[in-house]
């Protein structure tokens, strides 16, 4: 029934003409499909699949949704529908294609999960799932094809996303590190990852899949490479996906980061790509990395920051770092609380990561919380080596034990370390195929994590040792040498999964030996075990734990073979275990020969020193082994120094002894294994595998353990150290270096350092460029430091100091000053002793040869180091700050300048030290002011003393008077000395103030102090202040507003300074309004000195200037001239406040009585104006005079100015005559003061003035002639000219004696009085 209905609906969906009907039919059909019995549904689903050829995109899309639903329900009908997905991938409608990828990706995840879980729970995999998986693999390949094929972009984006999902699924999950915030973790839950897949899974091969994941990552990286050919959104998606992978799988972080960093510069502006967004995606990526707390990512913090700063995203980066620090602190608090309830075995992943974070932030804790300088976070990386480790690892131990007690379940409950172990085991089981992946994996594991892995693995050593063989007794004779065969297994199996080891441990030891032969066929090498003589377990060397060095030189391949059995067989099947254990043992002989190729002639000879008969007896190969054993042994005794001791299980005392030893051995393994890769270079006498196998079989006895006396121990250690160091230099692989570093650090602590220090330094410096030297030094130092902390009586402190000092010095000597290593070293070492500070001090303050250009750089370097120390090391902050501050008053200019730049620009901005900087600067400033005011007095008195008491006495006084000036002044040079003194005072004051003024530039309010102390300063100090303030004000520029307060209320006696400040503030620009207002107010209320107005006059309007004009005139002439310049200059907007004409008029308008100004002042001012002939030109004068002549009363100085005008510009004479005529009309004789001037002018301007003179009425003319009798003759002569005479009044003629009284009444003469202009022109 239901079937028929569904069929008809499907038919409608396929054939009906109306789309709506099609869709609704389909919808109904779907509901039925999911409700019918599975047996019926199969048929229906195949009908449904036919809809894939429907021409309607919507129908096809809906079909996809049905498939999606089926996938979500985990329906087995998916098998029928799945091919539809493959078809739709190529659909011409991009939406359908996109949806198909989405659905496929979802199904992919769910099927994968189902596959893994089904096998885990039930041990089988259903057929349909298997089929589906095959389909999914096809699907994957098809999706990969889409990325680079031409086609719509939508599906490509999803293909990239699919790649991401795929890679995430098939890599180990260690998300616990990607804890940006706890919220996220809680929300995410656990996602499928490769560790869910059991190793023996019939379909899924985790190792193959993992290498697939690696390959797919390559594809993603390839997208970046070909970004220039792809649309921008694809590049962005690829970047985002890479970031997601790197953040969720830190193993890939380095690869991804490198690709992204390489990518950034290669972006070019291209058509069709929004470059800004691509670039921004990188920015987002780096910011995202900064948010992660995984050690690998924190390690690259600096690089990220640099990159972000280059993108102008420094602010955003800083913010993220602040956020992260906050989160870390919170986590730390949380974990501290967790630690209190330690019995809580919950130990979620969050817990562990919290612990890790705690360790990392342990040091940060001491820091000032505001301090987010990168160095600190970087330094904290080394935190775990500190004393705090003990507590942290305690918690961890609980955790590890708790987990290992549980039955092995392959689910997400594993700790990351255990997951890694499982992972490594799985890869090893892969055989040849896994090698590549294993290498990638191991090379990406952080050293800390690697160490954890080794240690965690040690927990699972079997408790019951297998029976010892007869040879074993030999080795047991040596008390310090507890040869526990279990350890052999454990150490060899360091890479095996914890689970299998667990089982191994529970097996009766005897079964190991009995069953091992039975399954020998399993392995190619197993036939060895059938030969009891050659049974490797009986090989005496196997039983010697020191023999564990054996795997040392095993290449990766060997490791793989060795552990094949262990991991390939799932832990749930314990009967396989014997095989695995035997295989482990079997592999031993193979590794032996590898171990021989370490010919160490030097060591051999040295080793012969102990009086051991054994050494002489054994044959050569053994001797070599012996030598080798030493290397291992050297390390083992050091238990106290070994932090890892706490991690070892405490099941028995004996084990305690063993564990650290084997741990170290395991580390040695790591350290040495790469060198086998380079073994080709070794001497040709390396025995090949077969040869040594037979050799080892013949070895009759175990070389005896030799107890070395103190001396030899030391030598041996030294040799070991030397060897490692030499090796270290050649070693190229960084992961090995990590381990070597750890070894060297420990060895170092045991050896009397003085003799090896040089060797180490040389190495370190030579390698510093690659930065590994740096890490080595830090490891050594941290190790030494931990010794100091654990045992304050030890000599480690001295060693530490020596070593640090030595390295620091050689860094300075050998590396260029621009190298940052020095500063980095100091920033990251655990502790800075005083001697290093002393060195730093020397470096900054003493420039040794002076002429050498390097010295300046050294100072810069020193100060740079000081700077970073101040920021990152609170404990020596004050000491470093003192150094920096000391430099700011250093007599050498360049040192001082650099130090001041540092202090004022960088340090002063740091809130927690700004106060002490400010205080220091103030003190120096005040000392400059006060000391020198007394100095000045003293030196003045010194001068008088000298005059009185003679030269010798004077010299003494001057010496005592100024301690800072050259103390030795020879009597002959006394006077010169005095001069030097004052210039010295100036320069010293200048020097002492520099810092303060530099701070003022940052915080102008500080200037108040300058103003306050200005009055009591000596002249030299004032001079210094003036010089500084000039620079300061120019630097301040527009940020003067803080000064307004000071300006509005200047202390008594600081007027000069104030004026200078004002001048500087309004220099070269229009004075700002608020400044003008402030100054005006000041002038009106407190300070009546018009001087302060001068700088802002240009901002005054005409109406504002005129009232104060008299006050300006009152000023000393130079100041007035300055004021005048400002007035005439005016502002750009309003033009000059007064025109020159107005200025002249204004000057004349001043009334001495009213304005209480001496007349002399005004006349001087006038003269000063006349001197500026370019401003007060002829025209200006004429215009001004013209204006003034009409005034009533005439300005007092009017006539004087007229005279001056005519003096200055003789060509004005005609104009002046007009003026004079006007004055005649105005009856100038009635103005006594003007009249004098008038006559003087007439007299000076004769003969031009005759015409005017003749205009005067006779009485006045007469008085004029009586005053200037010498005028009479020329005037008479002039008047006597016929043309003039006629127009001159008779009375005048009479007066001049040119006519008799009788002629006086001639009428025409009167009428022509005013018409006589014409002929007077000359």
């Amino acid at each position: 029934m239901a079937r028929d209905q569904a069929l008809s609906l499907l038919a409608a969906a396929n054939n009906h003409g109306d789309l709506a009907v099609k869709l609704s039919s389909l919808k109904q059909a779907k509901d039925i499909l999911f409700s019918v019995e599975p047996s019926q549904a199969a048929e229906l689903f195949s009908y449904l699949a036919e809809l894939q050829s429907s021409p309607e995109p919507l129908v096809r899309k809906y079909l996809l949704e049905v498939i999606d639903d089926a996938g979500a329900k985990g329906s087995e009908h998916l098998v029928i529908l799945f091919p539809v997905l493959l078809t739709f991938l190529k659909d011409n409608n991009p939406i359908v294609a996109t949806q198909s990828i989405i659905t496929g990706t979802k199904i992919f995840s769910s099927v994968l999960e189902e596959l893994a879980l089904q096998f885990q729970r039930r041990g089988i995999v259903q057929r349909w799932l298997e089929e589906l998986w095959t389909g999914l693999i096809k699907f994957r390949d098809a999706v990969l094809g889409i990325i680079f094929e031409a086609g719509p972009i939508g599906p490509k984006l999803l293909s990239i996303k699919f790649l991401e999902t795929f890679i995430l699924c098939f890599t180990l999950d260690s998300t616990e590190f990607d804890m940006c915030n706890p919220e996220v973790i809680a929300r995410q839950g656990s996602m499928f990852n490769v560790s869910w897949i059991a190793d023996s899974h019939p379909i899924l091969n985790p190792h193959a899949l993992m290498s697939d994941a690696n390959r797919h990552l390559e594809i993603l990286l390839e997208i970046l490479l070909s970004a220039s050919k792809l649309p921008g959104c694809m590049t962005i998606t690829a970047v985002n996906s890479l970031v997601a992978i790197a953040r969720k799988r830190p193993v890939y972080y380095k690869t991804v980061l490198k690709a992204l960093l390489d990518f950034s510069p290669s972006i070019e502006m291209a058509k069709g790509r929004h470059t800004v967004s691509i670039q921004y995606s990188l920015r987002t990526a780096f910011l995202g990395f900064l948010r992660c707390t995984h050690p690998i990512m924190t390690e690259s913090r600096e690089k990220l920051l640099k990159e972000l700063r280059a993108m102008n995203a420094g602010d955003a980066a800083d913010q993220v770092i602040r956020q992260m620090d906050k989160i870390m602190r919170n986590n730390e608090r949380a974990s501290r609380e967790l630690q209190f309830s330690k019995d809580d075995q919950l130990s979620s992943q969050l817990h562990i990561s919290g612990e890790l974070t705690k360790k990392r932030t342990a040091q940060l804790d001491n820091e000032n919380q505001n301090n987010i300088f990168e160095a600190s976070s970087k330094k904290s990386r080394h935190g775990p080596h500190n004393s705090k480790t003990t507590t942290a690892s305690d918690a961890k131990q609980d955790h590890v034990n708790g987990i290992s007690a549980k039955p092995p379940v392959l689910d997400g409950d594993l700790t990351p370390v255990e997951q890694m172990i499982a992972m490594i085991g799985a890869l090893i089981a892969e055989g040849e195929r896994g090698v590549e992946s294993l290498e990638i994996l191991i090379s990406n594991i952080h050293a800390d994590l690697l160490a954890d892995i080794v240690i965690t693995n040690m927990k699972h050593l079997p408790k019951n040792p297998p029976p010892l063989t007869r040879y074993g007794n030999l080795s047991l004779n040596h008390p310090s040498d507890t040869s526990d065969p279990a350890q052999v297994v454990g150490s060899n199996g360091f890479a095996t999964s914890t689970q299998s080891l667990d089982h191994l441990a529970q097996l009766p030891a005897s079964s190991l030996s009995t069953t091992s032969g039975a399954v020998s066929d399993t392995f190619a090498t197993a036939n060895l075990s059938t030969d009891s003589k050659r049974d490797p377990r009986r090989d005496p060397r196997r039983l010697d734990p020191r023999r564990l060095v054996a795997p040392t030189d095993m290449s990766q391949t060997y490791v793989v073979e060795e552990n094949v059995g262990t991991v390939q067989h799932p832990t749930v099947e314990p009967d396989f275990n014997p095989v695995s254990s035997s295989s482990v043992l079997l592999s031993a002989p193979q590794s032996v020969p590898e171990f021989a190729p370490q010919p160490l002639p030097t060591i051999e000879t040295d080793i012969n020193l102990p009086d051991s008969p054994m050494t002489i007896e054994v044959d050569e190969p053994i001797q070599k082994y012996e030598v080798h054993d030493f290397d291992a042994n050297v390390i083992t005794p050091d238990k106290d120094a070994n932090n890892y001791l706490h991690l070892s299980p405490s099941s028995g005392k004996e084990e305690d002894v063993v564990s650290p030893a084997s741990m170290d051995l395991a580390m040695l393994d790591e350290a040495y294994s790469p060198s086998s890769e380079a073994s080709d270079e070794l001497p040709p006498d390396i025995p090949n595998v077969e040869a040594s196998e037979s050799a080892s079989a013949e070895l009759p006895v175990l070389p005896l353990y030799i107890e070395l006396d103190e001396d030899h121990q030391i030598r041996a250690r030294r040799l070991a150290l030397e060897r490692i160091i030499n090796k270290y230099q050649n070693s190229q692989r960084t992961d090995i270096k990590q381990t070597q570093i750890a070894l060297v650090a420990r060895l170092f602590a045991q050896i009397d350092v003085s003799d090896v220090i040089e060797m180490a330094q040389k190495l370190i410096i030579s390698d510093y460029e690659e930065q590994k030297g740096h890490e080595l030094v830090l490891h050594i130092l941290y190790h030494l430091h931990s010794l100091v902390i654990s045992d304050s009586a030890s000599s480690a402190a001295a060693v530490y100091e020596n070593f640090l000092l030595g390295v620091a010095k050689s860094l300075l000597v050998d590396l260029p000053a621009s190298n940052k290593s020095f500063s980095r070293l100091l920033g990251e070492v655990p502790n800075i002793p005083d001697s290093v500070l002393g060195m730093l001090d020397d470096m900054c303050t003493k420039s040794h040869s002076g002429a050498d250009g390097r010295d300046g750089d050294r100072v810069t370097q020193g100060l740079g180091a000081v700077w970073s120390l101040i920021l990152s090391r609170p404990f020596i902050r004050q000491a470093c700050l003192d150094i920096a501050l000391k430099c700011t008053v250093h007599p050498k200019d360049d040192i001082q300048a650099k130090a001041i730049r540092l202090v004022s620009n960088k340090l002063y901005a740091v809130s927690y030290i700004s106060n002490s900087i400010e205080q220091f600067a103030k003190n120096m400033f005040l000392s400059a002011v006060d000391q020198h005011s007394s100095d000045a007095l003293l030196s003045e008195s010194a001068i008088s003393d000298r005059r009185i008491g003679g030269q010798v006495e004077g010299a003494e006084t001057s010496t005592s008077g100024s301690q800072v000036s050259e103390p030795e002044i020879s009597p002959d040079e006394t006077m010169k000395g005095v001069l030097d003194d004052s210039s010295n005072i100036f320069s010293q004051a200048h020097r002492h103030m520099s810092l303060f003024f530099a701070l003022c530039a940052k915080k102008p309010v500080l200037l108040q102090l300058v103003f306050d102390s200005y009055t009591r300063s000596s002249k030299a100090v004032k001079q210094a202040v003036h010089r500084h303030i000039t620079v300061l004000m120019r630097a301040l520029g527009s940020s003067y507003s803080d000064l307004l307060h000071i300006i509005s209320n200047p202390p008594q006696g600081s007027e000069d300074l104030l004026t200078q400040v004002l001048h500087l503030l309004s220099e070269g620009r229009a004075p700002p309004t608020d400044l003008v207002v402030t100054v005006k107010h000041l002038y009106e209320t407190r300070l009546k000195d018009a001087t302060i107005l001068i700088p802002i006059l240009s901002a005054f309007s005409r109406d504002e200037v005129l009232p104060i004009f008299p006050r300006l005139v009152q000023l000393p002439l130079p100041k007035f001239q300055m004021a005048l310049a400002h007035i005439l200059q005016g502002s750009a907007h309003t033009g000059p406040a007064l025109t020159p004409v107005e200025v002249l008029v204004a000057i004349h308008d001043i009334s001495p009585e009213r304005d209480s100004l001496p007349l002399k002042k005004i006349t001087d001012t006038c003269s000063a104006c006349f001197e500026q002939r370019t401003v007060f030109t002829q025209q200006v004068l004429a215009k001004a005079l013209n204006q003034m002549v009409d005034r009533t009363p005439l300005p007092l100085l009017f006539m004087r100015t007229v005279i001056q005008a005519i003096d200055a510009f003789p060509s004005l004479v005609d104009f002046v005559m007009d003026i004079l005529s006007k004055l005649v009309n105005r009856q100038v004789w009635r103005m006594p003061k003007q009249w004098v001037g008038f006559l003087k002018c007439i007299s000076q301007t004769q003969p031009h003035s005759f015409k005017v003179l003749l205009q005067l009425p006779s009485p006045q003319l007469e008085s004029a002639l009586s005053k200037y009798p010498n005028l009479r003759g020329p005037l008479a002569a002039y008047t006597n000219q016929s043309s003039i005479k006629t127009s001159v009044p008779r009375t005048t003629l009479v007066l001049l004696g040119l006519a008799s009284e009788t002629q006086m009444q001639q009428p025409h003469a009167v009428s022509s009085l005013h018409a006589s202009d014409g002929p007077t022109s000359t």
Partner: protein, 193 residues
């Protein structure tokens, strides 16, 4: 197929709401959010902002501010803005807590910081649906005038994206054209639900 839009600023008050209001008026399917920790509105001085939790109704803020200093908040445009907002929706919503609101096709942010936070948040979500979301940042200053301009630009942008159908195919050109026409810099990124 109608696209779902989200407009995001830091407090879900000014810029995102302006755009929300405009887009809604023009018939777009739109929601708006803020990415800040709290909703912050200017107060009597720079140091005394009015801080509310997300979810506090606009009406409540309106009443609160009107009670505090009606003159000030009317003058600085806060009250009118709140009035506008309460006509659009009830309360400001926080982006980081919007998982229940379903997926968006286009997310418009108005500040680089907000853009970063939206991306980081999307990154941290579990990508289950694998539905791509286009996130675009259009830098708009947080004042009324700029918000009005920003709102119009946002509208224009959405009007250009919506008819394009599959923005994946043309997003680069679309963004670049928009930049050229409006002399504004945009940044976009792609994430998934």
């Amino acid at each position: 197929m109608k696209l779902r839009h989200a407009t995001v600023c830091s407090s879900n008050q000014n810029r995102s709401m302006e755009a929300h209001w405009l887009l809604e008026r023009e018939g777009f399917d739109v929601a708006s959010y803020g990415t800040g920790q709290h909703v912050k509105l200017p107060g009597p001085s720079l140091r005394e902002p009015n801080v509310y939790d997300f979810g506090t109704p606009y009406k409540q803020m309106f009443d609160d501010l009107r009670r505090k200093d009606p003159e000030l908040y009317r003058r600085n445009g806060i009250l009118p803005m709140l009035k506008r907002n309460l006509s659009v929706k009830t309360a400001p919503q926080r982006w980081q807590e919007n998982a229940a609101d379903g997926t968006f096709d286009v997310v418009l942010t108005f500040e680089e910081k907000v853009f970063d936070m939206v991306l980081e948040d999307l990154h941290n979500r579990k990508h289950v649906l694998l539905k791509p979301v286009l996130v675009i940042n259009l830098e708009v200053k947080d004042n009324h005038e700029e918000a009005a301009i920003g709102g119009r630009l946002a509208l224009q942008l959405c009007q250009e994206i919506e008819p394009a159908g599959n923005w994946e195919e043309c997003v680069d050109d679309l963004i670049m054209n928009f930049e050229r026409q409006n002399h504004r810099k945009l940044v976009y990124s792609i994430s998934y639900y």
